[in-house]
């Protein structure tokens, strides 16, 4: 629930970090909130050939991300809803949201948006197994198949017992955070060159409230995958309030790290991105193998 309120802060922190590194003062931390509210109040412009699908995309995407938020446990608080195999449903919800966004992009009939959609499904096809394998390694470490039990079991003991595996999974979650949220080095959320974009070009012709929903959804997704990474911290035996506070701090640090990565790295060429994602999947798979021997 915290995520619903705090997610746009992450975007604010990332932008602030990038500005700081570049020697600028940067926008206020609450700027993303202002952007979303401004967009939600606006009217909308729709392409001439569009059907209702272009309107359904952002709505459905946001609904799936809100549902996903409910499934992901936060240190100290746990998940609002938890059941066997909820991680599979989480992956399914991401896929549903993405499918809706991609179809909304194709609905405009624009070449640019087709291009973005094509790249999005390409990278998603590789990121989905990567996420499933990362969860597989965590499941093997903790002998559980629901997210609350998995993350509930990660304490100091689990880290001592399976240090290399958990570290590798952490790295692959970081990669997924960058890939799934279209950050540098995969995609540049601030570029203005349509030909090189992925996610941004897909939503190029979304305006007003639709764009507001999309931006808010993007912040939520950043928060959700960030939570999956930060919750790997061994906070099992810690007092819930302290655990939550540490995790919130961790989220902020993560946002700073993402901002630093964005400042320090250039985008990969599109042809290199698949290797980056497959690399993440391979890391998790290696982590799993390490557990087997």
């Amino acid at each position: 629930m915290l995520g619903m309120l705090l997610a746009p802060f992450l975007v604010g922190i990332i932008n602030r970090t990038k500005a700081f590194v570049a020697g600028r003062r940067g926008p206020s931390l609450v700027q993303p909130y202002r952007d979303v509210f401004k967009l939600l109040r606006r009217g909308a412009v729709y392409g001439e050939v569009t059907t209702s699908l272009v309107r359904l995309g952002p709505v459905l995407n946001l609904a799936t991300l809100l549902a996903a938020l409910v499934l992901v446990p936060f240190p100290g608080a746990g998940a609002a809803i938890s059941f066997m195999g909820d991680l599979i449903v989480l992956v399914g919800l991401f896929a549903l949201g993405r499918f809706a966004t991609v179809l909304a992009a194709l609905d405009t009939g624009s070449s640019f948006e087709g291009m973005g959609a094509s790249r999005e499904v390409h990278f998603a096809a590789l990121a989905e197994p990567a996420l499933l394998i990362a969860f597989a390694t965590l499941a093997r470490v903790t002998h559980a198949t629901d997210l609350t039990a998995i993350y509930g079991a990660i304490g100091i003991g689990a880290w001592i017992h399976a240090l290399p595996a958990l570290a590798l999974v952490g790295v692959s979650f970081l990669v997924l955070e960058l890939v799934e949220n279209s950050r540098i080095p995969v995609d540049d959320p601030t570029t203005h060159l349509e030909l090189t974009m992925i996610h941004e070009v897909m939503v190029l012709d979304h305006t007003g409230p639709d764009l507001g929903l999309i931006q808010y959804g993007a912040a939520l997704k950043l928060w959700i995958i960030g939570t999956l990474l930060v919750s790997l911290a061994p906070l099992r035996a810690v007092d819930p309030w302290i655990a939550a506070a540490v995790a919130l701090l961790g989220m902020a640090v993560l946002a700073v790290v993402v901002g630093m990565i964005e400042s320090a790295m250039a985008r990969y060429r599109l042809a290199t991105v698949p290797q980056f994602i497959v690399g993440a999947a391979t890391l998790s798979a290696v982590a799993f193998m390490v557990l087997l021997v």
Partner: protein, 669 residues
């Protein structure tokens, strides 16, 4: 009519309706309209009667087996419907009834009307033959029904027989079907010989006495049944036959007929006794290969029906992964894993019948309306055919395995089986679990890419040709058939907590595990699905709420229409849209090694380029590198036999006499 209390008589009525209407259709073919009406009525009513029989058995009615003498040496007519049979009768009769409903409107502007009457005869024959295979309990009867089931589609495929590529496709189908039958013949001869009877009941005893034989029988069954189901590399007939056949026949073949191959495999596994681990691994890896390669080849296609055909290969792969996990669970003595694997595989049988039937019917509606299924000539059809478009969208989302539709339920079970496997202590079981996960993850992502392309290019954007521009909505029987299937996708998706425990009884028959164990394995998952179904309802409520809010808000804030962003260009044309080929290009290029897509590019050169062209051809490497050379070799071998074949009839008579004498001599030895 209390047909549901008497499953076997109901089934016989179904057979009678199907066969009599078929024969009536073909005898009345001079009056094409009348013949078609009779054929359609027979298909629909016969299938409904059969469906009643199947549902009765699934509800717990235990029918008597029907055993009749047969005026043929060896074998008898032994027919029985157990739950496993009844379960496979569901997709067979269900898809048949809807294909029948759909077929007459569809055929109205397709090909030669004189062929239509014959087409109904073969359609009804195919339905009856599929059902016979599933209820036969005797090897000889099984093979006979199997052969009819293999032959009837040839005549369905060859419907548009004036086109050379259709005739070619039909021959490929026929050859593939008979290679499979050859292996099954070997299988039943082998078992029947040792048992002294071709009745299924005798086979487990034989295999107990000859345990070494079980593996041979398994391999024969995998190849024989697998080639009908369409596993890699025996899948080559699917992408040829489906585009050529009328769409309701494709729906029937892909929705129901290839499942009969799966039925054969599962039935044979029940007769083979305790399985060995390597069978499970072979099934799992074959399934993974079929799944991944099927979806990759589908991505490279630009003919909608070929694309769907390759997705059948993919989905058969998913079913096989499920059965493989099930067999591994039995072999490693982990009943919970076995129950999960079989449940996932068997549920996907029904699910695939529903959404693939729907998608082929949808492709047929497109073909009917725009006279082409070439992706790059379509576009913008959602506005012109909204019902077809919405149904196709639901089918696409379901086949991709997106929640909250039916495909997600079976994929959830299978991925969960993967997680259950990788928690097991042994390395072998854990590796099987990881293999399942990786395969399912990759298949899911690639399938999403493929259907984003298929639906996006066909139904969204602007029409890319005049034919698509002037497309019209399908006739109401076609829409009804599609809408029923689309509704089933949604209903099963939300009914997961009811559907999954109901599978326990069928899994029990397929796996030989006691019902207590299968029930115990599936119960927690139905509990999990109860909660996830609530989450799905939550999503629906949220989405509707957001939708309503936005409508209300925009009513005040205002909506404008404008051209989409074209980098400053103000008048986008249909030709400027992304095409199917360009959409799939990054993935196709990445998996070039496996797809063997050929591209011919004449790039524009100079400051004022005049002509440029690009063409891509996604041939099937298995066809071009495996089957074509093999068959060429066979043909060359066969050509040598021309020496003894020269058209002089008296020499042929001499051959006959010589053979007879040789046989007599051999018999008297």
């Amino acid at each position: 009519m209390e047909l549901d209390r008497y499953p076997v008589p109901a089934l016989l009525i179904a057979f009678a309706l199907l066969l009599l209407s078929g024969i009536a259709a073909i005898t009345l073919r001079a009056q094409a309209g009348m013949a078609q009406r009779i054929g359609q009525a027979g298909a629909v009513l016969g299938s409904l009667a059969g469906l009643a029989a199947a549902i009765a058995v699934l509800n717990g009615v235990r029918p008597e087996a029907l055993i009749l003498n047969w005026p043929m040496p060896g074998g008898e007519i032994h027919v029985a419907i157990d739950r496993l049979s009844a379960y496979f009768l569901l997709p067979i009769f269900g898809v048949s009834a809807l294909a029948g409903l759909y077929g007459r409107s569809y055929l109205s502007n397709q090909g030669d009307p004189a062929n239509a009457a014959g087409s109904w005869f073969h359609l009804n024959l195919l339905i009856a033959a599929m059902a016979s295979v599933v209820v036969a309990r005797d090897g000889l009867l099984f093979l006979l029904a199997w052969e009819i089931m293999a032959l009837a589609p040839f005549f369905l495929v060859v419907f548009n027989d004036r086109r050379a590529e259709v005739r070619h496709a039909a021959w490929i189908y026929l050859a593939a079907a008979h290679i499979g039958t050859a292996f099954l013949l070997a299988l039943f001869v082998l078992l029947g010989n040792l048992a002294g009877t071709s009745d299924f009941a005798a086979f487990p005893g034989v295999l107990r006495d000859h345990p070494a034989l079980a593996s041979t029988v398994f391999v024969l069954a995998l190849i024989g049944f697998g080639s009908k189901a369409g596993i890699v590399p025996a899948h080559v007939w699917l992408p040829e036959a489906h585009p050529a056949a009328p769409s309701h026949a494709s729906a029937l073949m892909s929705g129901a007929m290839i499942k009969v191959g799966i039925y054969g495999l599962v039935r044979m596994l029940t007769l083979l006794g305790a399985p060995q681990a390597w069978w499970g691994w072979v099934l799992l890896l074959t399934g993974a290969a079929s799944g991944v390669l099927g979806v990759l080849y589908a991505l490279a296609q630009h003919d909608l029906k070929r694309l769907l055909a390759y997705h059948s290969v993919e989905n058969i792969g998913i079913i096989l992964i499920g059965i493989g996990v099930g067999v591994l669970g039995l072999a490693y003595d982990v009943p919970a894993l076995a129950a999960l694997g079989f449940a996932a595989g068997l549920l996907h049988v029904i699910n695939h019948a529903i959404f693939k039937g729907l998608l082929f019917l949808g492709a047929g509606a497109v073909q009917h309306a725009a006279h082409t299924v070439e992706l790059d000539e379509l576009g913008g059809l959602l506005k012109r055919m909204p019902w077809t478009g919405i149904c196709f969208l639901i089918g696409s989302a379901a086949i991709v395995g997106l929640p909250p539709l039916n495909g997600f339920i079976s994929e959830f079970l299978l991925i969960y089986a993967g997680y259950a496997g990788l928690l097991l202590p042994t390395t072998a079981a854990a590796s099987a679990g990881l293999t399942t996960l990786v395969a399912m993850g990759l298949i899911g992502g690639l399938a999403a890419a493929c259907f984003a392309k298929a639906f996006g290019v066909v139904f969204l954007g602007m029409p890319r040709s005049d034919a698509a521009e002037h497309a019209h909505e399908a006739a109401w029987p076609m829409i009804t058939a599609m809408a029923i299937l689309a509704l089933l996708c949604i209903v099963i998706g939300f009914a997961g907590p009811i559907v999954v425990p109901a599978l326990a009884a069928i899994v029990t028959e397929a796996s030989g595990l006691p019902i207590v164990q299968t029930g115990a394995a599936l119960a927690p998952l139905s509990g999990a699905l109860e909660i996830s179904t609530l989450v799905f309802f939550g999503i629906v409520v949220l989405a509707v709420g957001l939708w309503v809010w936005r409508r209300w808000h925009l009513a005040r804030a205002g909506i404008r229409r404008a051209p989409v962003w074209g980098c400053g260009f103000q008048h986008p044309t249909p030709r400027m849209q992304y095409t199917a080929s360009s959409f799939a290009q990054p993935l196709v290029t990445q998996f070039q090694l496996l797809i063997a897509n050929r591209e011919i590019l004449a790039a524009p050169t100079g400051y004022f380029p005049t002509t440029a062209s690009f063409a891509s051809d996604s041939g099937d490497p298995f066809l071009h590198l495996l089957f074509v050379p093999t068959f060429r070799w066979f043909r060359r071998l066969a050509a040598r036999l021309n020496v003894i074949q020269h058209g002089h009839i008296h020499v042929y008579v001499l051959y006959v006499a010589a053979t007879l004498i040789a046989l007599l001599a051999w018999a008297s030895l």
